[in-house]
Amino acid sequence: MIKVLQYSFYDLIRSRWSYVYFLFYLVLGFALLFLNNSVAKSVITLMNIIIVLTPMIGTIFGVMYFYSSREFTELLLAQPIKRTTIFIGQYLGVSLSLMLSLVIGLGIPFMFYGLWQSAEMANFGLLLLSGSFLTLIFVALAYNIALSNDNKIKGFGYAILVWLFMAVIYDGMFLISLIIFEDYPLDKFTLIATMFNPIDLSRILILLKLDISALLGYTGAIFQKFFGTHAGIFSSLLVLVIWTIIPVYFIARKASKKDF
């Protein structure tokens, strides 16, 4: 598996898109820190970008890589290697190269501006962590889609739809249901509904860390109680881990049954 991972990884970090992605974050990081004097404000702006962009790039890149490396995959399948090894290796290769672009691309400018001494280090770390999780989750979802659709156009369509659903439509439905059921106590419902969307979950995780907690706490102390404590953060991270493991498990299952 390590061999396959290595191959995919090196293949990708040599490709132009990885560099573009890396340079984008690099420029973004420098520009934000240059324009906003405060690191705290930059972290908020970055969060807005990361929670939209990392899932999108993850899904598109995942689908794209799967389809473009199809011939090589078929070649590998002819070898005496386990199928799960091949697909999980590829998946990890893609995710790791994307995560690397994100972490290094944003890490360099922040290090350059002396972030290690600032109090925002923990928030920035959490931002990178949730960005990495979002990459892992959405690349896995993309792989699932690509595995079950041989038609490239359909595959891309579904992948974009999944991203659109998680980033926009889900929140719309969430909002409408909150307004419809406004006469009922909604604290628990809200809490559970955020768990079902990794984008929402990472957004709230970061928002609470960035001291917007008092705005949330204005309505119900339950968010504060849940997300504000260490236990809350750990259980949210646990949910993100579960969100990663389940699609990866489905990759493995689908890959071992698929007829090529």
Binding site: V168, D171, D187, T219
Partner: protein, 415 residues
């Protein structure tokens, strides 16, 4: 007859001249003839001076029923041992200066205070340190007083068993300046107080309000600082108030305000700073108020209207990085926003006159939704909400369409 009048004049003159000379200074200390403040007050005649030397005096319920000047030298400590109030002033023209008063008793039926002033005009309370008090300075029905540079603190934890720092009730022409108030219920509490001046006070970490203002007209408060109070500052049911150059900082919590205004008419609010409050200014039923040159920085809600507000004018204010600049719960608008600076303004200025060419809409659709269903705040900063706000900005449906700043400034106005 003329001569008689002249003699009478001289006689009265001499009498008047001899009056100050008649005032005696009594000293109180551990080794003096008079060993307690209470005895000194009993023995003194009106207009005497009592000089209390450094040391600790275990006394409470000191009743001052004649005009006296009490001076503390080297900060003498009067310890109430948590039994009752410490000093009670029942006469006009009493001065109390330079004492440390500590450990006032707690009561659920009586308002024990370190200094209680009732029906006594022309008092001066200055340079005292009041520690561990129930009520600090309690003034009722007394006019023309000065409360100056006192430090008042307590250990308040809950509202029901704590008192206010400076509590003024039914008074006129009181000046409260340069006091430092911390960890009380309300820092300064005013009820039915007219024509008074509150300046340069610092009120921090109080469990309810830094300043609490009720039914008090024609008052001014300038240059005060309110930091990290449980619920900020509340001004209610009052007319003709001037609030200038105050700072409202870090009143951050689930039910906190920088400034809470309820039923206020004809006030001037100028050059104040509202920074990092959950709600900068919460406005309810307030009419004809001018907000000029204030700064709103990093608040959750900079200005939140909660109903019945007419003819308020906002000009020359800076709104910087607030989660919501203005929140409104109706479609009707009778308030004017003009020539303010909004950090989230995205317009342009082609003719370079420093005023944006496109009007700015300070009310976002999302703030309207949050007003209706508070739980939706969980969707703050999500992409869907940004799209929603954008579409509402293009064609307002839910938010008042005449609520806009037609000439938003391109540059920060108050630095």
């Amino acid at each position: 007859m003329k001569q008689f009048r002249f003699v009478l004049g001289i006689f009265i003159g001499a009498l008047l001249l001899s009056l100050p000379a008649a005032a005696v200074t009594t000293e109180v200390c551990a080794t003096c003839a008079v060993k307690s403040v209470k005895d000194a007050v009993l023995q003194a005649s009106p207009y005497d001076t009592i000089l209390v030397r450094g040391g600790t005096y275990l006394e409470n319920n000191i009743i001052i029923d004649k005009p006296l000047v009490l001076l503390g030298e080297n900060a003498p400590v009067i310890d109430g041992q948590y039994l009752a109030g410490i000093v009670e002033i029942k006469s006009d023209s009493v001065t109390l200066r330079g004492f440390v008063l500590q450990n006032v008793g707690l009561s659920y039926t009586q308002d024990f205070a370190a200094i209680h002033i009732g029906n006594s005009d022309y008092f001066v309370i200055a340079d005292n340190v009041l520690k561990d008090v129930f009520f600090g300075i309690y003034v009722q029905k007394s006019d023309y007083g000065l409360i100056h540079q006192n430090t008042i603190s307590s250990q308040a934890v809950e509202e029901f068993n704590s008192g206010n720092g400076i509590h003024i009730w039914h008074c006129k022409n009181i000046t409260v300046t340069g006091n430092h108030l911390s960890r009380l219920r309300d820092g300064i509490y005013l009820e039915f107080v007219e024509e008074s001046l509150i300046t340069d006070n610092i009120s921090t970490n109080n469990i309810r309000y830094g300043l609490h203002f009720m039914f008090s007209n024609h008052d001014d408060y300038y240059d005060n600082v309110f930091i990290n109070n449980g619920a900020g500052v509340a001004v209610m049911f009052s007319k003709f108030i001037n609030m200038k150059r105050n700072k409202f900082l870090r009143n951050w919590g689930t039910a906190s305000f920088g400034l809470l205004l309820k039923e206020i008419y004809d006030a001037e609010i100028e050059q104040n700073l509202f920074e990092e409050n959950t709600i900068g200014v919460n406005i309810e039923g307030t009419n004809r108020i001018n907000y000029k040159n204030n700064r709103f920085v990093g608040n959750g809600w900079a200005v939140k209207f909660t109903g019945g507000c007419y003819a308020n004018i906002f000009t020359g204010n800076d709104f910087l990085s607030n989660s919501f600049d203005v929140s409104y719960n109706t479609k009707m608008n009778d308030n004017l926003f003009d020539h303010n600076y909004w950090s989230s303004y995205a317009g342009y200025d082609l003719d370079k006159d420093g005023i944006g060419d496109v009007p700015y809409r300070p009310v976002k659709l999302f703030s309207y939704i949050v007003n209706r269903t508070p739980e939706t705040i969980i969707l703050l900063r999500s992409l869907f909400i940004d799209i929603l706000n954008f579409s509402e900005k293009v064609s307002p449906v839910f938010t008042p369409d005449d609520l806009l700043d037609t000439s938003p400034s391109m540059k920060i106005i108050n630095d």
